[in-house]
């Protein structure tokens, strides 16, 4: 079986090389034949990679320990679903998944444009194939997944207990769907430069692809945060860890692009900037893969260290050099059609949005790589951690929050004083009101106040925009209540989908504010019968018990949780000892409500029979997860908007 896997990876490598050469030849000579066979080769890569994955999955599920990868990452006592997900537990399997997602994007791209006989799309396919060459060559020559052991062991090493979590089953594939998807916008950008493409149709196409993978990336980042929250057991969800930062950076630049691309569509401005943003987003997603794989920086999420770091760096260097050279070479194509009329205008707000998103990215990049950079520059290694990121990124993020409210209600070109008054008076009033209401509840400090003001301000502008939209349309206004909102959203899915995304983001801001500023903590050893008080909660230890669960032994404390006088039921924070690795794992107990989470950790059981308990109240955390779902829904609505694409088509651009 392993020969089939190895052969299909090798053939995928040859097919991607062939695709690049054949399409390049076809584009040069104008012959249809080579273009067609090049496209077919991209399809072949997709099929071959799928075959390779099936071979590896079959071995993983059957625990065929003659495969080195299977012996390294699974064991006989591993539940089958985690055997399935251990495909992405190690480097070779992760790379194979990367390649598969990449080739699936390639195939999806070819399928979407199968009826268009325009060499421009072949050029896009050629760029995708070029990236495929890189990944297939890694899998063929540097990090082969189908190595066979001379003497297969009786049992494998087992899967890292941290990865034995349902969240970890779906987090990497979703994150990859986001990361890898930026290949398509990147390929479009490069193809535009290569083919000297004019017109705006491609911009709308790129916007849709970007929106799609941006949604997955954002969702993947939040799933990672959720996994850290329930599985790492330190009471938080985000620690500005290099791997977290790595996934955040392409999301930030992608967000900047999704905004500035509107300026290009509407006013024909910021063309160079937009192409540069696409390239940067893609390079950052490769950089993210590099960070998680290279072991250059210490991280709690990095599960593999390896020698493929330099390959990734080399790829980033080469691809960004080519992109930069092309941008410079095609300067004329990217000439702006308009000038900025006024700073206070929709364009102006998009510009600042971009500056701020890039500032966030830059600060995050700098902080993440600071030890390496400072050593290179000054010779002394300096490292920064969470306090640095909070200090720098929180004010920038808050400025962005305010802009989220202001930007969409500023008009294009220039804004008159009466428009300002009409659009801002009520939201500012609502913001001030929310702040005043918050003060008696312990709201204090500049940033929290700005955050509460900003959140209320943004929500007020969104509500006003909906209300105004309903009033302006007679047919919509005739419907009642919720139906009016639904039919309004249907009229302009892109615009109102965008507002829904903004609303989800505001929820995340409020959730982060609540859980970071208003977190409460208590800890202590408890003997059976003793209680720990935390805010309105009382945690009474009933006892400690041992319980075997699947492939681990759980030691768990039974806590009777009450809030005020009301008994809420038992909670079971535990320590799991995995048989295979003999490594203890904290299994937290979590009581979630919309207002707050009660987060319980068992530190361990002491000799005198007492249990060390650490407890947190994390207010409003649930808003972060719900906000993420709202953002996904808003994005889906915006994606459903095909109007603009049709209009561009009619214009024959």
């Amino acid at each position: 079986m392993s020969e089939i896997g190895r052969l299909s990876v090798l053939l995928a490598f040859l097919c991607s090389c062939f695709a690049v050469v054949s399409i390049a030849w076809g584009l040069r000579t104008g012959m249809a034949g080579p273009l067609k066979s090049g496209r077919r080769a991209v399809w072949m890569v997709c099929g071959l990679t799928l075959l390779a994955i099936i071979v590896l999955e079959r071995a993983l599920i059957a625990r065929d320990f003659s495969f080195r990868y299977v012996a390294e990452h699974t064991s006989l006592d591993l539940p089958p679903m985690y055997a399935f997900s251990s495909l992405w537990a190690g480097q070779e399997g992760s790379l194979l998944l990367w390649l598969f997602v990449l080739s699936a994007y390639g195939a999806a791209f070819l399928w979407s444009y199968r009826k268009r006989l325009d060499p421009f799309y072949d050029a896009v396919a050629m760029v995708v194939a070029g990236v495929m060459v890189f990944f297939t060559s890694l899998l063929t020559f540097v990090s082969p997944p189908f190595r066979i052991l001379a003497t297969p062991p009786a049992d494998g090493n087992g899967l890292n207990p941290l990865l034995q979590d349902p969240g970890m089953m779906i987090h990497p594939p979703i994150l990859y769907t986001g990361y890898v998807g930026f290949i398509i916008p990147f390929a479009f950008g490069i193809a535009v430069l290569l083919m000297n493409r004019t017109g705006t149709r491609w911009i709308e196409e790129v916007r849709r692809w970007t929106l799609f993978c941006w949604m997955f990336l954002g969702f993947g980042v939040l799933l990672g945060a959720r996994w850290a929250y329930v599985e790492l057991g330190w009471g938080g969800y985000w620690g500005w860890d290099p791997v977290e930062n790595a996934s955040l950076m392409p999301w930030l630049v992608g967000t900047a692009f999704l905004h500035s691309v509107m300026v290009e569509q509407r006013r024909g401005m910021m063309k160079t900037w937009n192409v540069a943003l696409i390239v940067l987003t893609f390079e950052l997603s490769i950089f993210g893969t590099f960070l998680t794989r290279s072991g250059v920086l210490t991280s709690v999420h990095s599960f593999t260290e390896s020698n493929i770091g330099p390959w990734f760096l080399g790829f980033i260097l080469i691809s960004s050099t080519i992109a930069t050279a092309l941008i410079l070479y095609r300067k004329a194509l990217l000439e702006s059609e308009n000038r900025l009329d006024a700073v206070v205008s929709r364009e102006g707000s998009f510009l600042f949005n971009n500056v701020l998103f890039l500032a966030l990215t830059f600060a995050t990049f700098l902080g993440t790589t600071f030890p390496v950079l400072s050593e290179a520059v000054t010779g002394a290694k300096i490292s920064v951690s969470a306090p640095f990121f909070n200090r720098v990124n929180v004010p920038i993020a808050l400025a962005l929050l305010l802009l989220t409210g202001a930007g969409p209600v500023l008009s294009w070109k220039r804004v008159t004083a009466s428009v300002l008054k009409r659009n801002f008076l009520i939201p500012v009033f609502v913001g001030v009101l929310a702040t005043l209401v918050g003060l008696p509840f312990g709201l204090h400090g500049v940033y929290p106040i700005v955050c509460v003001f900003g959140a209320a301000f943004v929500i007020a502008t969104i509500v006003m925009e909906f209300a105004r939209g309903i009033q302006a349309r007679k047919d919509v206004a005739e419907a009642r209540g919720a139906m009016a909102v639904v039919s309004l959203v249907e009229k302009n899915k892109r615009r109102y989908g965008g507002y829904i995304v903004h609303f989800g983001m505001v929820m995340i801001f409020v959730g982060v504010l609540g859980s970071s500023v208003f977190q409460k903590e208590a800890h202590g050893p408890l003997l059976p019968g003793e209680s720990l008080a935390l805010g309105p909660y009382s945690l009474k230890l009933r006892g400690v018990e041992n319980k075997p669960v699947a492939n681990a032994q759980h030691t768990r404390a039974i806590l009777d949780v009450s809030r005020g006088d009301k008994y809420l039921g038992p909670a079971y924070p535990a320590k799991a000892m995995y048989f295979k690795s003999q490594q203890p794992m904290t299994e937290i107990a979590l009581r979630q409500t919309p207002a707050e989470d009660l987060y319980l950790i068992l530190g361990g059981v002491n000799e005198d029979g007492s249990a060390s308990i650490q407890a947190y109240i994390n207010p409003l955390v649930s808003l972060i997860w719900v906000g993420g779902i709202v953002m996904v829904l808003g994005t889906l609505i915006a994606l459903a908007d095909r109007m603009r694409l049709k209009r561009e088509e009619k214009l024959g651009a």
Partner: protein
């Protein structure tokens, strides 16, 4: 043209404040990133600012008071040792011989690092170890 100048002025103001945030952030929250040997052998370790050390937990030095909670251990890079005090729960993967990263303040007289953050690197057990050679 007026708006162009205004745009540049506002952009410069934004970029300036971000630069200020970054510089002051590094200055006030930057940690001296050293090896155990560098810190132990330093004649006069930097007086200000925090430290970040990478190294291994010396085997047989871990003292854990779970009730407090407080964790005491010696950190080593194979040549020198530095004591670490961490007032928190022992991380899951922690143990003698494990690779750890600690951040905190250094007390040069007691040669002890008062850690505020302790991260255990994931054990390399899950990587290729002890599986023998590939079939060729």
């Amino acid at each position: 043209m007026g708006s162009r100048i205004r745009l540049i002025a506002v952009s410069l103001a934004v970029i300036g404040s971000v630069a200020y945030l970054i510089l002051s952030g590094v200055k006030q929250t930057g940690l001296h990133y050293m090896t155990v040997t560098e810190l132990a052998r330093a004649q006069s370790p930097p007086e200000e600012g925090g430290f970040r050390l990478d190294g291994r937990v010396a085997i047989g030095t871990v003292q854990y008071d779970q009730k407090a909670p407080q964790l005491l251990f010696q950190m080593t890079d194979g040549k020198e040792m530095i004591g670490v005090v961490y007032p928190g729960l022992m991380p899951d993967a922690f143990g003698g011989g494990r690779e750890v990263v600690v951040e905190g303040t250094f007390d040069p007289r007691a040669r002890t690092l008062h850690a505020t953050k302790l991260v255990t690197k994931c054990p390399s057990k899950y990587e290729a170890e002890g599986l023998g050679k590939d079939k060729t």
